[in-house]
Symmetry: C2
Subunit: 496 residues, 2 copies
Amino acid sequence: MTSTYERFIEKWRTIHNLREVQELVDWDQQVMMPPLGTEQKGFQQAALAGVVHSMLTDPEMGELIEELSLRGDLDLYQRANLREAKREWEKETKIPARLVEERARAVALAQGSWLEARKNNDFSAFAPFLEKVVAITREMAEAVGGGNPYDVLIDDFEPGMTENVLKEVFSTLKGRLVELNDKIKGGSHPPTQEPVTRFFPRERQEALCVFLAKEMGYDFNAGRLDVSAHPFTSGTGRDVRITTRYDERFLNTALFGVMHEVGHALYEQGLDPDRYRDPSGQACSLGIHESQSRLWENLIGRSRAFWVHYYPELKRFFPGVLDDVDLDTFYGAINVSRPSLIRVEADEATYNLHIIMRFEIESDLMAGRLKVGDLPAAWNAKSRELLGIEPEEDANGVLQDVHWSAGLIGYFPTYALGNLFSAQFMEAARRDLPDIEERLEKGDLISLRKWLGENIHFYGRLYLAEDLCEKVTGKKPSGDALMSSLEGKYSEIYGF
Amino acid sequence: MTSTYERFIEKWRTIHNLREVQELVDWDQQVMMPPLGTEQKGFQQAALAGVVHSMLTDPEMGELIEELSLRGDLDLYQRANLREAKREWEKETKIPARLVEERARAVALAQGSWLEARKNNDFSAFAPFLEKVVAITREMAEAVGGGNPYDVLIDDFEPGMTENVLKEVFSTLKGRLVELNDKIKGGSHPPTQEPVTRFFPRERQEALCVFLAKEMGYDFNAGRLDVSAHPFTSGTGRDVRITTRYDERFLNTALFGVMHEVGHALYEQGLDPDRYRDPSGQACSLGIHESQSRLWENLIGRSRAFWVHYYPELKRFFPGVLDDVDLDTFYGAINVSRPSLIRVEADEATYNLHIIMRFEIESDLMAGRLKVGDLPAAWNAKSRELLGIEPEEDANGVLQDVHWSAGLIGYFPTYALGNLFSAQFMEAARRDLPDIEERLEKGDLISLRKWLGENIHFYGRLYLAEDLCEKVTGKKPSGDALMSSLEGKYSEIYGF
């Protein structure tokens, strides 16, 4: 190996090290920082962002990438590192510094305005700020070039994915989801959520979460569990931290929240330890990341097989609380489905409709078919169309999510992709481990974790998400596996 | 103000922001990091160190400093910023990168070897590694230039201080301390430490520490208290965190440990909020920093006046435990003095002898009057001479401190300087606040905190330590105030 490649990879590893620091600073802000520390955190993050940006746009980086691009002797991993580095370097160098700064300012103002607007239920006060963010975001996408600006944005979160692919996948999915939800509404024996709304003391919930995380294979020597307002996973390799929040009157919040975050964390802990600092050694995409969290949260955590073993265990953490609740009643209670206004509270059967709605709106917005001022009306119409309900105020409608004010356009689709990938992966796991159901019923979670590790985690970003999906499952991404999983589960629970 | 100065100060503020991040990463390692995270922390710190180094040695920085040095229109603060920036920039640019890397490697090896050597009580295994560190440290000092290499090293920690000044101050101090300790040994009514070795439950100690920290004026909205193996203070401005450790069988550990760290923290929280990111807005020197921690720990925390008000408060935190112990017995118990081998466990009357011993050895080592191989013999002889006792093994002698293996030569003197400054400052506070004794007896700690804030904290590094000392106290640094404080206290407690 010549020194050009070594110099190249060393630079990217240094960038990775600094990104770990950026993530740590953010974790600290959300979990540990004293209240008055906000301003200094802003200075710290700005300094780090400036450093990473100048490393990425350093002329030597361009020279190294160009030189390596002409080489025919790179191996599979080296080629993947070059591909991923190039993607990022091109974006970073094509976007003028002026635009990066303008965007940072616009986003800061829009986020402040969004908080106010949501509180006052006043979309019109927020609209001019959002218009500015949308305009700058479009300008950035155009600076990067390559046709459809929305494709450029999606590519930031889901490398290789396009609007057209999503349109096709989501349009089939939409029809089947609306149909499923109609059947759920007419189910002959809807379950009750009452059992999980009893009193579950916080310290017992905490113990349960730690127990389950360990059972799933989360390594507490390479991680920790803390509390934060918005649960998240932070870090990679041998330092992957998760957070949660507790609601003593609603078991699901922490229980499924932690299973979700542990799903993310197992992915990060499972990356190839020799490559996690390389451009192609990191997690594949947001969609694949979300597939790991959703798989554990929904396909395992909300499955009957899982609770055959773990329901008696759970009861031991809350003596007496669930004595009168049998396995099937509990299984029903954690799978209650009803259309609701708020995405983050949505259940498995309705969640993807929230995403498809946002995708369709974003797509229209970026193509200029929709103006910012028309967002509330478009939102309410879509909500009625897909979920059958309409927010009585914008605070619970178009103003509910932080994403657009933060300039995150093209991000929402990765949530639905995650759900869809998770079902496809689970189908493939069943193919490779025919007795997986019995293993789960015996409390063996490690077989599945191992399968995920070998088939997904270890590869990192060696393949694009779509290719990884096809390699593992033999199929392109589609809603089929997800729909048959949902249809099977809900027909049984709701009786239709 | 022209843009040259603005560009200059903006660069230094960015460096400061990154140094806050370095401190945060270190805090995280010592307080929060999961056990397997060590290697990644090393990568993170190396990346940050590289970034800061290249910012400091960036050619533009030299140009800005040169241009500003020719200007006659800078105000007091701007001149101080330039002076401090220049000092650091000169050192950083004069030391070749090769030497920085060699030193990093040598220190890493020496620290590993030191840990082993201390465990195995085997100085000879450590000696070659220490020799390497000493040689490189000398080479670095010579690269910076300016005469006496030991002066160059001292200047890193105590800008402006020299070996000659220290020699003069310490030689007087040494004689008086040896004499004091002889008198203490012959005291007619030595106190007993028994009361503070009773059982003090950890959670009650924690509550006491939080209570006292607040009474001292520590702002928990701009800080937090955690546990770590080695207590320390981290951060600046509006995010200043302290740590401690608890010993349920020895009250002093956490009680005086926290008062010590809060002393440091009040300094950082008390810096001028408009200037703490500037080169001259930061803490003055390690000696001045230590003066703040020692003042609160010893001159307040181990004073009778303080406990007149706070002893009844303390008793309330530990119901029944100290019922039979009156104020004077308690006051004696926290002021027991006896020569001991380990510096970090030494009391107020013997502590500075540990420092003077190390200073004399370092001075001989750097001047070539002493070889590394002769350190154990020199150590034991000095210990006998100053403390009247001699370690039975090197693990409790020359191998006890981490500093030399870490390349920290010229650091030890700042501990004694801190003690000496603290007594001088306290004398000045008594001059300015004649009723300070009565205020303390009433539990008013804020008057003193305010005085320290206005006379010391707020100035930051506007003046060199020696000049600040003279400005505040009207006197050059000397051991006089410290000795009269110690002699007064111990003659009363021990009866001589």
